[in-house]
């Protein structure tokens, strides 16, 4: 554990560097990046060892507050998440150093770097925590630091609003977790995870714990319908923070669910089904709503909802497997969930970083104001394209591997009679994949391809190296996992097995042989495509290669504004899903446009709060300012209490 904590300390020191070298920005950025990467590597070292098959490590500290020792440890589950946190954290932070440089002087940039470093450190502490109090502390620090990062541009009203909604949501979730731990820890009073595991209740108690866990952690994960805070917060935050949030912060909800499942034992069957159904709902609705967005970052944020859905599908299958004593199925389900968590962390942060580069270059995130960036930002586009293909789940990239593993879990439920209905989720997952394809075709096409639709989009140039290097590091990870899934699937299955309580060998035997074939497929795909391309180039080298305007079906003077817009691209799908898609069509005499609506936020959450507010306001006349009535309250209270006394005593005259 020493390299772990030393690494985290180094990360925090890195966070201080920009404040220390305030006068010399170049040196500050170098020191920040260097120390951050160094610290992340050091902290990741023990995690990598654990994942490679080493023994889990643990350290116990005597606590100065009640609740038992403060235990920190790295077991496979923690190690897996740690790798994701540190990888994405380092990439986002390094990106942030370059991304925020233009804002230095106008906004407190050094503070953001420090907060980012602390955020990453607390995320790492969170997954290493093995007792309740440090867990909750790290949980809340993570959430609150993220809030401060989200409201970086607090001079904008919508940023403050999004920040508030985020903060309220996360706090509500935290309260649910407090309830869960308070309930769970009540018999012993010792709040280490070991003690909780030993005191894991059964029956109604377990049901309560799992319900609260689903609510509390689900809020963080952003599953539908608890996702309503997520798009706003992600859109409001500085881009590298969005990447960090979407990549790892919301995954802490998944981590929490997995950890609780590990500690509390097999969840009830209804819980597994519920998680599965919520996963399907999140996946389908998330991607559908993503499709209708006009803001690039909001779109990506909704894709996080979608991917959380996919992860939850895996988790639900794992839970069902664990419930019905099928450890292999459980290990594959949980393994698929954690692997998709890692993969989503990689490609989603990559996509956010790409979106940030676009925003820096053009000053806008509105998809329909962009276009044609592939020419001016070829490298950004390449990285973004890799991320897009990965998130859609296409081979030969990492998204395919984890979606395939989740499919494996679903299909293997065919062997388990009580869980066979899970097979229907396959259709949902397929739908999610196809809709994601539609969505990223829209994004890639509208933002990078075709022609620039507005002047700002015409002016953007290629992103700076400081932005590109982190993006390509993440892209490389996506490609590597896609090409050689054997590196990560094994550890993922082992993690799944620790949650399922066995089944590692069976799961490895079940899916292991396929991994080589997937690598082969990837290799063939790349080789054949490259070969065909090469052949074609050779063929065409000797022929006429004309250049002309795009064929306008007879129309002679095409104009960039005549291009198909992203909104139109999504229109047939939005129309097919009707009101569920939540697209509001605005018809004005001279304009016609669509506006995506936040169905849950605007039609559920805000009205609910309005109702609460209405009830509260009805009470307000109590405080009407008239003293005599105030004394009357006092008198009335006294009389009521005396009545209570009389009833309790019942005339006990000696």
């Amino acid at each position: 554990m020493i390299p772990f904590f030393a690494g985290l300390a180094t990360i925090v020191v890195a966070g201080l560097a920009p404040a220390v070298f305030r006068r010399r920005p170049a040196r500050a950025a170098r020191a920040f990046r260097g120390l951050f990467v160094l610290g992340a590597a050091a902290a990741a070292w023990p995690a990598a060892r654990v994942l490679a098959g080493g023994a889990a490590v643990e350290v116990r500290l005597r606590a100065a507050v009640p609740g038992g020792d403060w235990v920190f440890g790295i077991d496979p589950l923690a190690a897996f998440f740690l790798i994701a946190i540190l990888l994405v954290g380092a990439a986002s932070a390094c990106y942030g150093a370059a991304y925020l440089a233009p804002e230095a002087g106008r906004r407190p940039v050094a503070v953001v770097h420090l907060l980012t470093a602390l955020e990453v450190a607390f995320l790492a502490v969170l997954v290493a925590a093995r007792s309740v109090i440090p867990f909750l502390i790290a949980w809340e620090m993570m959430a609150v630091l993220a809030y401060f990062l989200v409201v970086f541009e607090s001079d904008r009203d919508e940023v403050r609003r999004a920040g508030l909604i985020y903060l309220v949501s996360t706090h509500t979730g935290t309260l649910a977790l407090i309830a869960m731990f308070a309930f769970w820890g009540q018999p012993g009073g010792t709040l280490t995870f070991d003690a909780l595991a030993a005191a894991a209740p059964v029956g109604a108690g377990a049901a309560l714990i799992f319900t609260l866990a689903l609510f509390g952690f689900g809020f963080k994960a952003g599953l539908v319908p608890l996702h309503f805070w997520l798009p706003g917060a992600h859109a409001a935050a500085p881009t590298h923070v969005s990447a960090l949030m979407s990549g790892v912060l919301i995954k802490m909800g998944i981590y929490g669910l997995l950890r609780v499942t590990q500690l509390a034992g097999a969840p009830p069957a209804w819980w597994g089904w519920l998680v599965l159904c919520l996963g399907l709902a999140s996946g389908v609705l998330g991607v559908l709503w993503a499709l209708t967005q006009h803001d690039l970052k909001r779109l990506l944020a909704y894709h996080s909802v979608e991917n959380i859905g996919i992860i939850l599908i895996g988790l639900g299958v794992g839970a069902l497997g664990a419930r019905f004593d099928a450890p292999v199925l459980a290990a594959i389900g949980f393994g698929g969930a954690v692997l998709h968590t890692l993969n989503h962390a990689l490609f989603k942060s990559l996509l956010f970083l790409g979106a940030g580069a676009v925003q820096r270059a053009t000053g806008t995130r509105v998809i329909d104001r962009l276009g044609g960036l592939a020419r001016r930002m070829p490298l950004t586009w390449t990285a973004f394209l890799i991320g897009s293909a990965a998130i859609v789940g296409l081979p030969p990239l990492n998204g395919f591997v984890s979606e395939w593993l989740v499919y494996q879990g679903l299909l293997r439920s065919a062997h388990l009679a009580p869980a066979r209905a899970a097979l229907f989720a396959v259709a949902g997952l397929a739908l999610i994949g196809a809709l994601a394809l539609a969505c990223f075709a829209k994004v890639g096409g509208a933002v990078f391809l075709g022609q620039a639709r507005t002047a700002p989009a015409r002016e953007g140039g290629e992103a700076r190296a400081g932005l590109l290097v982190p993006m390509f590091a993440l892209a490389a990870a996506c490609v590597a996992i896609g090409g050689a899934p054997v590196v990560v699937v094994g550890p993922a299955l082992r993690v799944g097995a620790t949650i399922a309580g066995g089944g590692a060998a069976g799961a490895a035997a079940a899916v292991g042989p396929a991994l080589g074939r997937i690598s082969l497929l990837a290799l063939l795909l790349v080789t054949l495509a490259w070969g065909l391309w090469w052949w074609r180039e050779r063929l065409l080298a000797r022929r006429i290669r004309g250049a002309a305007e795009t064929w306008g079906c007879g129309y002679a003077r095409p104009d960039p504004r005549m291009q198909y817009t992203a909104a139109s691209f999504a229109a047939p799908l939005a129309a097919a899903y009707g009101p569920v898609a939540g697209v509001e069509v605005v018809r004005e005499p001279d304009r016609f446009h669509t506006r995506p609506r936040e169905l849950v936020l605007d039609h559920l959450a805000i009205p609910f709060w309005g109702r609460v507010r209405g009830w509260a306001v009805k009470l307000h006349p109590i405080q009407h300012g008239r003293l005599w009535a105030y004394i009357l309250y006092l008198l009335g209270t006294l009389l009521l209490l005396l009545l209570y006394l009389a009833l309790q005593t019942g005339g006990a005259r000696p």
Partner: protein, 304 residues
């Protein structure tokens, strides 16, 4: 894997351009016309392959990459199907996910290539393409699920192999529904009536065709060929589901495949002749019906 798999693969890929030809011929004959020769597509491909190209100034490498990826993914997907009835070139647990996602990758590449032109027509086509595909995908996967349930095998090689032979008598109604669903998916993925009309000349009503308006020369050849392969693959999948041939000797197995492909092509032609094209807004309903069919099959298998 034996020598039969590569041979079957070669036969299927070689036959691919024939399938649209047969369908078109059937349609023409039923309409009382002579129609283009059955081998017309081979001729077109050959001619295109030797032509030069014209590129829009708007396009980038994405535009040129699209056809390449389209062909390669179709070819690789073919490697995953047990075309000879006994085993695919590459087979592994859950390989039909790879099958579907490889085809999806091809579609992604083509759609991006279409959008790269900046043409509103091609954008429209791309939009329709992904819409249709998103409704077809669940049906395809549900059909796979049904096959998995019927055969207890997680790979295409198994699901379309020996166990399916035993499964047919036991679960005839369910598998019949599944094959019907697969046929509907074939019509959608092959861009045929009633989802799309390959013969239309009005860009505003096209789906697949309008997506490739700007391609020319070898690029267009690759697109046409890739599309033919893809359609043939779905036909082969359908035949595999209807006639599991694991117990037959190799040559009859391949023979049945060839015959089956012709029959499917004719069937497509007949459908095109007797049905009108659906309104675009009704396509989702059509494909949802396909999903429902497959889902019913799955339910029947689950209940059994």
């Amino acid at each position: 894997m034996t020598w039969s798999a590569p041979v079957a693969l070669a036969v299927v890929i070689g036959m691919a351009p024939l399938i649209p030809g047969i369908a078109a011929k059937t349609k023409a004959r039923l309409a009382g016309r002579r129609g283009p020769p059955v081998l017309q597509l081979y001729r077109d491909l050959g001619r295109l392959w030797h032509k030069g190209v014209v590129y829009s100034r708007v396009t980038t490498w994405v535009f040129r990459m699209g056809p390449v990826v389209g062909v390669v993914t179709a070819g690789l997907a073919a490697c995953l199907l047990p075309l000879d009835g006994r085993g695919a070139l590459i087979t592994f647990s859950g390989d039909f996910v790879a099958f579907a996602y490889l085809l999806a990758l091809g579609r992604f590449a083509l759609v991006l290539a279409a959008l790269d032109t900046g043409s509103s027509f091609e954008g429209m086509g791309a939009s329709r393409e992904v819409t249709v595909a998103s409704f077809a995908e669940p049906a395809l996967f549900l059909a796979f699920v049904a096959l998995v349930l019927a055969t207890d095998s997680l790979s295409l090689g198994g699901a379309l192999g020996g166990p399916l032979v035993q499964a047919w008598p036991a679960a005839t109604p369910a598998l019949a529904m599944v094959t019907a669903s697969l046929f509907l998916v074939l019509l959608a993925e092959g861009a045929r009536v009633p989802v799309d009309d390959p013969a239309t000349h009005l860009e505003l009503t096209m789906i697949h065709e309008v997506m490739v308006l700007d391609h020319s020369g070898p690029d267009l050849a690759m697109i046409l060929f890739g599309h033919a392969v893809k359609m043939t693959l779905f036909a082969a999948l359908l035949i595999g589901a209807i006639f599991p041939r694991a117990s037959l000797p190799v040559l009859p197995a391949i023979g049945i495949l060839v015959a089956g492909l012709v029959v499917v092509a004719v069937a497509v032609g007949i459908v095109e002749s007797v049905m009108a094209r659906l309104r675009l807004t009704h396509v989702p309903q059509f494909l949802t019906a396909a999903s429902a069919l497959a889902a019913l099959g799955v339910i029947l298998l689950l209940v059994a």
